[in-house]
């Protein structure tokens, strides 16, 4: 039997460490509109007839943000980009594209149609990422809603129900039912004093009941929320059987399944129509002529009044002198590039660890998930491929692109495999959910971010004691790297944020640096 949760335990859970009283107080003190929710208004000085040269190292979204903003104010910008393309980790793959994973180069063979694309890096934009969204608006990037959680997608775990996939809705409805029953039991234990008034207690109990769809006597006996076993439209619906709590507890996928709409992915999510790189294209529409491609930075020397940069392009080493330099080259690559940075800066650069994100995708010969009532969303499994995303875009078209693997933290498992091994691993994993997966898909692509040329990682990991937050030393190393060298060289990118792996962080780091430089330029020109 499941050990019953006592009321006090339950109340303590609610209030984390401080107990319910603290929880109640915290509730009233909550600031419901945190400052980060509003887009920072950049107010940069226009240079007028003055001249300033800017070197932007790396055409990531942060670098392009700088180019776009400074271009408007009359600065002379040059973006040096080592790759054949801008965007860095904003990578949309379409027909014919080169996937520049070193040691595993591929060309994307998807059919040549507008909806046949795959966002191999950034894919989702939460509605709270105001700064990024405001650029989408300014750059006329059309957005559509992205379906993240979908209750008709699947949950599959070899340890649960003999490995049989169940619908997300069956998993979540039953899980919530059982959890609510436990909570209701804890609430009705009269022996414990409660800090609730009678009416608060009633409200809470009512919520618990509706949270789990409990019966009048606060028991979970199954729910129509999971859909019908049969009928439901022209005939009365027949309720599905309950799945035993114990069976559900065989799987730990609840952490992903029940949390899919929480935290960063809690707000409404969006994606640009046609691919995430429409944002990059939007920036390039304004500053494209300032970008040098296949121009690999080889040296960065900060001087008293500027920065000298060297780069290789077409087999020739070039030099570029600028008044200010904004650099989004990943720190782990910058360590190997010639520079004259101060030693505390170098120490901070070396401290940052690189992440191991991995993604894969398949072209589906037909949109078989739509025949199974699944439109968009994620199927979760406890396989190494972890996730299967059904595309939100292209509904009811002939084909679509499925995300066939997404491992954010432990991507090395697939990264170290050969291309064939990777693909076989994903197919075998998804056959557990869709038995004929192998026949349904073709033209796979895989992306080990740890090996992508000029990137070699996603994303910057500052904190080494994961889950316990940043140490004081880490905070101070971070601030060292955020501060400009000599007022001339600024590191930017999501690596210079405390919330890496989001475009919003990259954009905000660029805006932070711009404001800083702007203040200096105002003094220079005063």
């Amino acid at each position: 039997m499941v050990k019953s949760v006592s009321r006090r335990e339950f109340l303590n859970l609610l209030g984390a460490t401080g107990g319910t009283a603290a929880a109640l107080r915290a509730g009233t003190a909550l600031n419901l509109l945190p400052a980060s929710a509003s887009a920072a208004a950049l107010d940069l000085l226009n240079l007028g007839s003055n001249r300033r040269k800017i070197a932007i190292l790396g055409g990531g979204i942060s670098g392009l943000t700088v180019a776009y903003e400074l271009n408007k104010q009359g600065y002379d910008c040059t973006v040096l980009e080592a790759s054949h393309r801008c965007g860095g980790r904003v990578l949309t793959l379409r027909h014919g594209d080169l996937i520049d994973e070193i040691g595993n180069r591929q060309y994307c063979e998807f059919d040549d149609e507008p909806h046949m694309y795959f966002n191999a890096g950034a894919a989702r934009i939460p509605s709270t990422h105001r700064n990024l969204l405001s650029y989408c608006k300014k750059l006329n990037v059309e957005l559509e809603v992205f379906i993240n959680e979908n209750k008709t997608s699947f949950v599959q775990d070899d340890n649960m129900l003999g490995g049989k996939p169940i619908r997300n809705i069956d998993y979540t409805t039953n899980m919530r039912g059982f959890m609510a029953e436990l909570m209701a039991k804890a609430m009705s234990n009269e022996a414990l004093d409660a800090p609730f008034t009678e009416s608060e207690g009633e409200t809470l109990l009512g919520m618990i009941r509706s949270f789990g769809d409990l019966s009048e006597d606060y028991l979970y006996t199954g729910s129509f929320r999971a859909g019908y076993a049969k009928g439901g439209f022209l005939k009365h619906g027949v309720q599905k059987d309950m799945i035993a709590f114990r069976d559900l507890l065989k799987s730990r996928l609840g952490r992903q399944v029940m949390g899919a709409n929480e935290g960063d992915t809690g707000p409404i999510l969006m994606q640009p129509v046609g691919g995430m790189d429409r944002i990059i294209a939007g920036f390039l529409h304004h500053v494209g002529d300032q970008v040098k491609y296949r121009a690999m930075v080889t040296s960065v020397q900060v001087t008293d009044n500027g920065v000298n940069v060297a780069y290789d392009q077409d087999g020739v080493r070039h030099n570029l002198s600028a008044d200010y330099c904004f650099n989004c080259i990943p720190t782990h690559l910058m360590v190997g590039i010639e520079h004259n940075f101060p030693s505390d800066y170098v120490k901070a650069m070396k401290y940052v660890r690189r992440g191991e994100a991995y993604k894969a995708a398949f072209q589906a010969k037909r949109r078989f998930w739509e025949d199974m009532d699944a439109y968009g969303g994620i199927s979760w499994s406890n396989t190494k491929s972890r996730q299967l995303w059904y595309p939100t875009h292209g509904i009811h078209k002939a084909k679509g692109i499925l995300l066939g693997a997404y491992d954010y933290g432990g991507g090395m498992y697939h990264t170290v495999m050969s291309q064939d091994e990777r693909i076989e691993s994903h197919i075998a994993d998804h056959e557990k959910i869709h038995p004929n997966f192998r026949e349904l898909v073709e033209k796979p692509v895989t992306i080990g971010w740890h090996r992508m040329n000029h990137m070699l990682g996603c994303s910057a990991r500052w904190s080494r004691n994961f889950g316990q937050g940043w140490s004081h030393e880490e905070e101070s190393l971070y601030h060292t790297l955020q501060a400009p060298v000599n007022g001339r060289h600024f590191f930017i990118g999501d690596q210079i944020s405390m919330h890496s792996a989001w475009q919003e962080s990259a954009v905000m780091s660029a805006q932070w640096a711009l404001n800083h430089m702007d203040a200096q330029v105002r003094v220079e020109l005063a």
Binding site: A82, H84, R85, G96, D97, L98, D100, I102, G103, N104, R105, Y107, M296, T298, S299, D312, D314, G315, V316, R317, H318, N319, L320, S321, T331, H332, L333, M334, V335, G336, I337, E338, M349, K350, R354, V416, R451, N453, H454, L456
Partner: protein, 220 residues
């Protein structure tokens, strides 16, 4: 202001070469292939500096060591060893595993790369490891037989130069040899010779000391 300095003339000829080759190959395969060749982004095998740093001077951030100034025969052997899977195969050898797929190269490409790397100027590397160089000197005694008194290597024996290599890399290699992550493959003739020589290094402090001594030698 932009000044342009030509790199090795060879590099330019090579670049021209691949373009001509692409054209010839495309016309050989017919017009449709030409269209495809024109559409698709090209790539080549000269990606080493992404990891090994500017002009192959090493990048601690990737744990990829200095290549500039490396003996041609040693560079070629290591590329062939990685390609054949006799180095970088042990599951604990994460850096070796990272390098191994980078050596999926044709013989021609290896020759091209060895030439290319040969054109990089040698620059002494930064010292990052502290140790007791005096203790290190006596530990180095046995090493000198093969790597030379000045640690500048010995082609006849097949032992590479150690002086001037990134010290953190020397340390990981010694630890790899000690732990059996390198030099145990039955086809790794040279690695085996080296692996047999690490018995005198009993712990990490010995490794640090001997590396500190190598650091104290004149790099080149």
């Amino acid at each position: 202001m932009q000044i342009s300095v030509p790199l090795k003339a060879f590099h330019k000829i090579w670049l021209l070469g691949i373009r001509v080759f692409a054209l010839v190959a495309a016309s050989y395969l017919g017009l449709s292939a030409l269209a495809v060749a024109a559409e698709k982004e090209s790539y080549n095998d000269r990606y080493c500096t992404t990891c090994h740093g500017t002009d192959g001077r090493g990048n601690e951030g990737i744990e990829a060591p200095r290549l500039a100034g490396m003996e041609e025969w040693y560079l070629r052997r290591q590329l062939e060893n990685f390609r054949a899977g006799i180095r970088g195969y042990h599951p604990m050898d994460t850096a070796g595993i990272a390098m191994r797929p980078m050596a999926k190269l044709t013989d021609e490409s290896i020759t091209d790369i060895v030439d290319w790397v040969g054109g990089w100027d040698y620059e002494p590397t930064e010292i990052t490891i502290e140790g007791n160089a005096q203790t290190g000197e006596s530990l180095y005694g046995v090493c000198a037989t093969c790597h030379g008194i000045d640690a500048k290597g010995n082609a006849a024996i097949g032992a590479p130069s150690l002086a001037g290599q990134n010290d953190w890399y020397l340390a990981t290699q010694l630890i790899n040899f000690i732990a059996g992550h390198r030099g145990r493959h039955e086809d790794d003739v040279y690695g085996q010779q080296m692996a047999a020589m690490v018995d005198t290094l009993t712990d990490e402090s010995d490794v640090r000391d001997v590396v500190a001594y190598i650091n104290s030698l004149e790099p080149r």
